[in-house]
């Protein structure tokens, strides 16, 4: 199976869906002539032309809102945010309009659009460009939220997201764009709301999404090699819808849970998971649930300190060992 970077996998998903459905339009800042701020859309303008690959001005509320309006009439915009951090500039459009219009119209309207881009820290760009908005967004009924951790998942999930008739907020990671995974050449889709056990294990369950999955897998490897601990790593892939069954099945198997996410702890994805697990599997737990989030402050610039602010394999290993004591 060929190795494909996360960036290329997303590009392939876009190209395949642009090819398949004439209503799909890619729009955003620098997606065309500039070939994408992170080169995700490189070559698409050349292949599909300016009607399908649309460069926008720096005007997030404007072009996101425009995309929502177009989606009401059946266009399927895939809107790139150069950083998910810029969602705040279009917050009203995304979470008041896209999330609510179907409801407020009594189900007469749906908005088949995808908003995608990187939503992560760890790149030394300071607090304004390092937001991880999945928990905030997922707390709004009406939208779906997806956070792929690998190239394979990114491609299959993005294709499903583009075909979905509800607004899907698709959160990537700049630190993964250059990483490579095996991706089949034949077409495949991954349904939203289906978690993936990335590594089976028996001693504890590590639940993560996005790049935290990669850190968790590295930690699980070391735990096995150096500490004889068998960690199961569950990749949520999709935050809303959420695959409760896979999570609970793993908890019932290992009886210990470590939640890992880059988001901040307060009302994070982990908070929802912890509630859900204690409610449905209280008697299966042999220890309190633990979690690792970013340290609870705005994203620090200082490069060595930022690395320490984020979850990493070392912190995961430490927490896992403590959890099994």
């Amino acid at each position: 199976m060929p190795l494909l970077s996360y960036r290329e996998a997303i590009r392939h998903a876009l190209a395949e869906e642009l090819q398949r459905d004439p209503n799909v339009v890619v729009m955003g800042e620098e997606v065309g002539q500039f070939n994408g701020a992170y080169k995700v859309t490189e070559g698409l303008l050349e292949k599909f032309g300016p009607k399908r690959i649309v460069d926008t001005p720096i005007s997030e509320a404007g072009f996101v809102g425009l995309g929502i309006g177009a989606s009401m009439l059946g266009i399927r915009p895939v809107i790139e945010l150069m950083f998910w951090s810029f969602y705040a500039v279009a917050f009203d459009q995304i979470l008041n309009n896209a999330a609510n219009i179907r409801y407020m119209s009594g189900g007469q309207i749906h908005c088949p659009l995808v908003i995608r881009g990187p939503g992560n820290g760890g790149t030394n760009v300071g607090a304004t460009h390092s937001h991880t908005p999945e928990a905030i967004c997922a707390s709004h009924p009406g939208v779906k939220v997806v956070c792929p951790a690998t190239a394979y998942d990114a491609k299959g999930l993005l294709k499903s997201a583009i075909r979905d008739n509800d607004p899907v907020l698709f959160m990537e990671n700049t630190l993964l764009y250059g990483e490579k995974w095996e991706v089949p050449t034949e077409e495949y889709l991954i349904p939203l709301g289906l978690a993936d056990v990335k590594r089976p294990g028996t001693d504890l369950t590590i639940i993560a999404h996005g790049r935290a999955v990669v850190s968790s897998l590295a930690a699980a490897h070391t735990l096995e090699q150096d500490h004889g601990i068998s960690a199961e790593v569950v990749d949520l892939r999709s935050i809303r819808p959420l695959d409760e069954e896979t999570v609970l099945a793993s908890v019932r198997k290992t009886h210990r849970v470590l939640l890992v996410e880059e988001g901040k702890p307060f009302c994070g994805v982990g908070a929802q998971l912890a509630f859900m697990i204690q409610e449905a599997a209280f008697d299966d737990l042999d220890a309190p649930i633990r979690r690792i989030n970013s340290i609870d402050a705005p994203a620090i610039y200082s490069p060595p300190l930022e690395a320490q602010q984020l979850p990493d394999a070392g912190k995961i290993i430490q927490a896992a060992i403590e959890l099994l004591r």
Partner: protein, 358 residues
């Protein structure tokens, strides 16, 4: 028409002779008059329902502005679309929505146009090309450009009228949309219904410069007209709608109008304007009275006919209230319907997992 009996300046400017108005048949003119009057009586009836505590939340009445929505929407064809803000009852009626469903929506009933899920500010009827009904000031304007974008993308000769109030013109989303519409030459006409007050703040205290002239900064066409005479509204708007529809040319048009009621029913209306000002508008510029006088002068209507229309729309408004009253509320189980398309269409559902959380 007890409160509309005083004489008015009628159609002194002669807009009735503009081609778009000359083309109207007597029947069409009568229908426009009826629609304006239906809006007035619907609003009056909804206010009574509000005062009787049948309606919750906000209620932004359109009384005094009827010629704007009816005049603009009367110019539209099958491929033309409308989106507006929260003072949306007039546009909904002008686009042909059934007032029974509108009144039921105000009452929060399951038979409402949004099944009781939207309320006064959120009327929608996409089958009639009416896309809301939006609560956040200026938030609907980018959507209007998006509707125009979709029309152009599909090669459909149509236009979108994106209505907003004068209070919306200082929102960033509006200016971002002006730029996109001009940059991409979208078939959208931005219609500023200038009733003089953004809530309780007058135009002089809120907005620098002329509102529609801001179009020049975006190299867009613009216009301005009075909104009290429906003939004037139609004469002014016809050109802008046609050039949007036929040549995909956007524009901003300001229509000067006046609301008789407060910003919403929660506005005591005693802080920012005088009763005398409101009365002067009612006396000299009432859009229904002006059109009524014109139609009487033209011989399209006589007193008996006009009175009969009024009686009919009053009865219609009353019947709408009775319908709303008799209708059931939504069930608790309905709260989580109409959130996600996929959940509402289980046979086509592709996603898995849990979508609602307890």
């Amino acid at each position: 028409m007890a409160d509309d009996n005083t004489s008015t300046s009628s159609t002194a400017k002669g807009y009735s002779n503009s081609p778009v108005n000359e083309a109207l048949s007597a029947e069409e003119k009568t229908r426009l008059f009826r629609t304006m009057l239906l809006i007035r009586r619907f609003e009056e009836r909804s206010l009574r329902a509000y005062q009787a505590k049948k309606i919750g939340g906000f209620l932004h009445l359109y009384n005094g502005q009827e010629a704007v929505a009816v005049g603009c929407c009367s110019l539209l064809g099958d491929n033309d679309h409308v989106i507006t803000a929260y003072r949306d009852h007039g546009h909904a009626i002008a686009m042909g929505m059934d007032i029974k469903a509108l009144m039921a929506e105000l009452y929060g009933k399951a038979t409402g146009c949004s099944k009781g899920k939207g309320g006064s500010m959120h009327f929608f009827d996409p089958a009639r090309n009416f896309w809301g009904g939006h609560g956040i000031v200026g938030g609907q304007v980018p959507l209007g450009a998006g509707i125009a974008y979709a029309l152009k993308y599909r090669g459909i000769a149509g236009a979108c009228l994106a209505f907003m109030g004068d209070g919306a013109v200082n929102q960033g989303s509006v200016h971002e949309t002006y730029n996109l519409a001009a940059l991409w030459q979208l078939p959208v006409v931005f219609v500023i219904e200038n009733n003089g007050y953004s809530m309780g703040t007058s135009q002089a205290r809120s907005s620098a410069g002329e509102l529609s002239k801001r179009a020049e900064g975006y190299d867009m066409d613009w216009g301005i007209c009075g909104g009290h005479d429906i003939y004037e509204v139609r004469a002014c708007m016809a050109k802008f709608v046609a050039q949007a529809r036929d040549r995909s040319k956007p524009a901003i048009v300001e229509i000067d109008t006046y609301r008789y009621r407060g910003h919403s029913v929660a506005d005591p209306d005693n802080t920012y304007r005088t009763k005398a000002e409101v009365e002067e508008y009612r006396r000299s510029k009432d859009p229904i009275q002006i059109f009524r006088n014109a139609l009487l002068a033209e011989g399209v209507l006589d007193e008996i006919g006009a009175t009969a229309i009024d009686a009919a729309v009053r009865a219609e408004a009353e019947a709408a209230a009775e319908f709303a009253e008799a209708s059931p509320f939504p069930a608790v189980a309905d709260i989580t319907k109409d959130v996600y398309w996929e959940e509402d269409n289980p046979s086509e559902k592709q996603s898995r997992g849990r979508i609602f959380f307890g």
